[in-house]
């Protein structure tokens, strides 16, 4: 389901989500802002969210275009893996006497 905007707004433009990338890192959500189009959203994001620090890239996405899971589905979607310890390395003991660096 998409994340709807909280309320229509008359003179601030659409709501956009801003993602910052630092060198070698994934894009990380930084916050949101209002802008009428993508070009100005990128410009505003640079001015507001990337004034200092090691930002190497920016993404902006219209909030209304994001498809998201429902808070109510958290348990059904995300709790399962906790019971699957065999997916983790520590489930398998090292053969006797061996040590990992």
């Amino acid at each position: 389901m998409s994340i709807e905007e909280a309320k229509p707004t008359h003179d601030q433009g659409d709501l956009w989500e801003v993602f910052l990338q630092e060198d070698g890192q994934p894009h990380v959500h930084a916050g949101s802002l209002r802008a009428p189009d993508a070009e100005m959203a990128l410009q505003n994001a640079r001015d507001v969210y990337a004034r200092r620090g090691a930002v190497t890239g920016l993404w902006v996405v219209r909030t209304a275009d994001i498809a998201a899971t429902e808070p109510a589905d958290r348990a059904a979607l995300f709790d399962g893996p906790r019971t699957k310890a065999y997916r983790h390395a520590h489930f398998y003991p090292l053969p006797g006497g061996m040590k990992e660096p």
């Binding site: 909280a6 309320k7 229509p8 916050g31 802002l33 209002r34 507001v48 998201a68 808070p71 958290r74």
Partner: protein, 316 residues
Amino acid sequence: MQPTAQGSESAFDAHIRDHLHVEPRDWMPDSYRSQLIRLISQHAHSEIVGMLPEGNWITRAPSLRRKIGLLAKVQDEAGHGLYLYCAAETLGISREEMFEQLLAGRAKYSNIFSYPTLSWADIGVIGWLVDGAAILNQTTMAKCSYGPYARSLLRICREENFHKRQGMEMVAALVRGTPAQQAMAQESLGRWWWPTLMMFGPPDSDSPNSADLMKWRVKLRTNDELRQRFVDMTVPQALAFGLTIPDPKLRFDSDTGHWVTGEIDWEEFRLVIQGFGPCSAERLEARRRAHAEGAWVREAALAHEARRGRREVATP
């Protein structure tokens, strides 16, 4: 783990007790939502109004170093206001509504920005005291339960330290300067000390919203705790600067290890936050004028978007 989705107050309380964050689309009690809107929008307004007393001094900064520092600081405050308006919007209030509340004089903002900046020393003392107080408050709130507010405060705190440091550098320069400069620093501290102590809000015994806010982990320290921490941190700094705190009752209690201040004038605080501070009317008037004079920017942005939209339709 889906307590907030179930929509019950007790499940929500348990979610908070487990130190989990609340996100915009999670179920939350109406009172949690309205208290956060009140808090975050007040904070946003404070950042925006806070640009006014300082912006006043940009053209009169005594050196290029001071001018670029102050410009960057005022720009930061605009950015902080935007982070916070965005965080408040996630709770279902529109930005127009928040602006309207501010411009109509119905919304509160920090008491401190209703005082005038009368000398250059004020810019240093504001950085040292006012930003110092704000950092204490904000680093605590950055651990609060509402995700978007906590995250915007983390970002703000990372930027805020420079405000305090440049203020302390200015005060240090003045107290090492001529007798006139030293007197200017002392006079300024004299005017800002008490209003800064009021920034932490009314005493715990008289703070109507505190109990709920603490229960919800919106507030993590009480007003009095934070104020005490500020006093304990700042008095030794003032002594190191060779400045005198304007409080004849100030004393160090060696039993508790804390500095004890005299009585704060809470009647003055009450008047200032109700819009009767020395510069309250002037600040609101400046905001109204800026909003009206900036209308063309918002209109131009929307006109630009509309024209591009038409162009995209016209060229398949």
